[in-house]
Symmetry: C2
């Protein structure tokens, strides 16, 4: 099929949808020059018709409240799903695919839950299902993993993929303010939702990790299979001790291929060396480090959210889909995921991982406490690399901060359980994993 | 055409060729899983047959000295050109294209000189000509500009694209050694060629900038059209003063869209803010910052050279070409360049650029010198932001270091010419441009 103009319909006209419509209306000739493809924005579905055009010059009759005018419209070649949520988006995308339309979505929650089924369906109907904007916004990490690194065995990847958490941690680091105070500012500025749970508890990062792992390891894993830990318990004390030890705390989404051909998958606050590029990714920005066996260490940095950066990624997907329409072929982007249905790689349980740890104990300021803790750790094969104890003498309790050498998580858990039985240990310890491999 | 196996021939079995053959032989099933494409390495051309197989298990009769066995071989679908140089590579690539073969090359010098002609030829023969490995090695910057940022007007780009220069400057910065000493070590370690001219004079970076500009601005420019300056005149004094002022010196390849719809193109040592990500790209690594109107600031980091990182990019191109073979379509990668034949954007002469400057004058240690220089700069609308003069009093000459606010290059040249007529000014000044926009 050699159509002179490829017709696009958008489901949802919120922040990102508005950005996509702006690019499609204002940069039409640029896109044609860059890609040889002319895109026509035909329809935008919004639940209630807006009073204004939100600063975009739209064609007549473009806006509608009826999704059928996009997903069932024979004129539409490409459907862009930007309504978010799972249930409605799921059924509309299925209908669009069944109607032979290529689909572009930024919906990580939907793909993390129903990706396998939707990619199977897209494959059966020979259409593409592109999702660059679902992870790390404007950073082309999906295409990079899927295409540019296709000749690599991915050794590991480390992502700062939640801008809200990175903004909060950066502010805590640079302004010495507490989590709850920064969260409030972030909410006022629109960097955090009124209900910030999905972000600050690590769920959003975990959904993105699922997509990255599907591409890097052809493995379709679910949220319940791996360790997810947010940033709500990080205090200013942790930030300060980490800095003193030469580290910065970042919420990382981590995937690693282990010796036994399993994948470590985890989301948690992590100490990264302060001189590393990853430690210097500040504010609401995202970055993903990928280490491949051939390409070696790489890092990709950019805005992970927001109207225009996300729209940039959506439009790139639309252009790819348009080329598929013009050439009459389905995009191969879905193949990795599909192959994941027969995944050879399983998830490595968190208990089996080996890593270095930062531990802060709150202990009674009495002689012998360090020795008791050190003995228990030693009994569990956990070796201490450094210790800080510097709260003023005479307080009832003091912080005892340790960095360990590499240890097994299950040994750490067992050691902590034993340490918690000591009378002198006052609270649960703060346990933060350390990653040295990102030291570039 | 739905071929079960796509046949690949390689011209040149040096460092990168060996890396490509390793990936094609050892990661065959990984590639098939990642991309749905089975690649068969059929032929490798080497000028003289090697005594060993260089650690790669090659199929029987794979090695040959006759390029015709690749470029004229009807069995071969994809030709990978890795012999380097311009003349022979040029004629072999033309022959391969004319024979209907898709071509992958890492040859930046060839493309910078004959890109327009070769992409035109590829378009006529409906084959792809992919060149990801030509710029920034394993970093997928070509695909990113061409595909992922196709909906963006590129505001500017800043690249550390020569690993040799970055290694030398990093060592000068971290170990306080002089240029010539580091160059010798770099040559011993294999980071620099015996004749390092192309690298240290900025020519290699300039060739890569030509390719980046072709993609970002659809403009086919030539080496003679823009300012290219290497790092040979950078002394330890510049490194130290820059550090004191909060900057690091990097060799940057810079492109910017100006107001008048022209492109600034230049390669020169540049002061970048020391806390920026770009300043922290150390050793032989490369990085490219791209700032797009929609996506905002981005950075891509990785190894810009070496056997396996470059091979990673070549193999990605081979996989893309293989998909084109399977789907019977030509790759669209050449379109931007082709459109460049009708480029709307011209090159902005260096005299017209506006930037901040670091200037180090060597002057007689006499009263009034600073005032005389300051007056001349002021007469040319150049305003001084800060001054350092701290060589011990009593020396015959002292260094006078200034940072200016933004000024026009032609004014700076005129002012310097006037300043050089002052009796108290002993040498040509060290003039280094400053970029603040990369402060992320």
């Amino acid at each position: 099929m050699d159509k002179s103009c490829i017709n696009v319909g958008i489901l949802g006209w919120g922040t990102v949808g508005t950005g996509v419509s702006k690019i499609l209306m204002n940069q039409n000739s640029l896109i044609a020059k860059n890609s040889g493809t002319e895109l026509c924005l035909k329809k935008i579905v919004k639940r209630t018709l807006p009073a204004t055009r939100q600063g975009v010059e739209l064609p007549m009759d473009c806006l509608t409240t009826d999704p059928a005018e996009v997903v069932d419209n024979p004129e539409i070649d490409i459907v862009v799903e930007l309504i978010g949520g799972v249930t409605t988006a799921h059924s509309l995308i299925k209908r669009a695919i069944q109607n032979g339309k290529h689909v572009v979505t930024a919906n990580k929650a939907l793909l993390a839950e129903h990706g396998g089924e939707l990619f199977q369906l897209a494959s059966e109907h020979k259409v593409s299902l592109n999702f660059e904007a679902s992870t790390a916004g404007g950073i082309p990490i999906i295409k990079t993993l899927q295409e540019s690194f296709a000749g690599n065995q991915i050794h590991s990847l480390y992502g700062i993929v939640n801008g809200t958490c990175n903004y909060i941690l950066t502010e805590m680091h640079e302004r010495a303010v507490d989590f709850s105070d920064v969260l409030k500012v972030a909410q006022d500025k629109g960097y955090a939702e009124a209900d910030p749970t999905l972000d600050v508890e690590g769920i959003d990062a975990a959904q993105k990790l699922i997509l990255l792992i599907a591409l890097a390891y052809r493995s379709n894993i679910s949220l319940s299979q791996f360790h997810v830990e947010g940033i709500t318990s990080i205090t200013q004390k942790e930030i300060q001790y980490a800095r003193e030890l030469g580290y910065v705390i970042k919420l990382l989404a981590i995937a690693k291929l282990t010796d036994g051909n399993r994948v470590e998958a985890r989301v948690h606050p992590t100490l990264v060396p302060e001189r590393s590029l990853l430690a210097n990714v500040g504010g609401a920005f995202n970055a993903v480090c990928v280490i491949g066996d051939a390409v070696g260490p790489t890092l990709f940095y950019g805005q992970g959210a927001g109207e225009m950066p996300t729209a940039s990624a959506v439009v790139a997907d639309v252009i790819d889909a348009a080329k598929s329409v013009q050439q009459g072929v389905s995009s191969p982007i879905s193949q990795a995921w599909l192959a994941g249905a027969q995944a050879e790689v399983g998830v490595c349980p968190i208990d089996d991982i080996e890593t270095r740890y930062y531990i802060r104990f709150v202990v009674a300021d009495r002689p012998g406490v360090l020795a008791k803790i050190g003995t228990i750790l030693g009994n569990w094969q956990i070796s201490i690399a450094s210790v800080i104890q510097k709260d003023p003498h005479g307080m009832e309790t003091v912080s005892l901060v340790m960095l360990t050498h590499k240890a097994q998580e299950k040994n750490m858990k067992a050691a902590l359980a034993e340490i918690y039985t000591l009378e002198d240990v006052k609270d649960e310890a703060q346990l933060i994993r350390i990653e040295e491999e990102v030291d570039f």
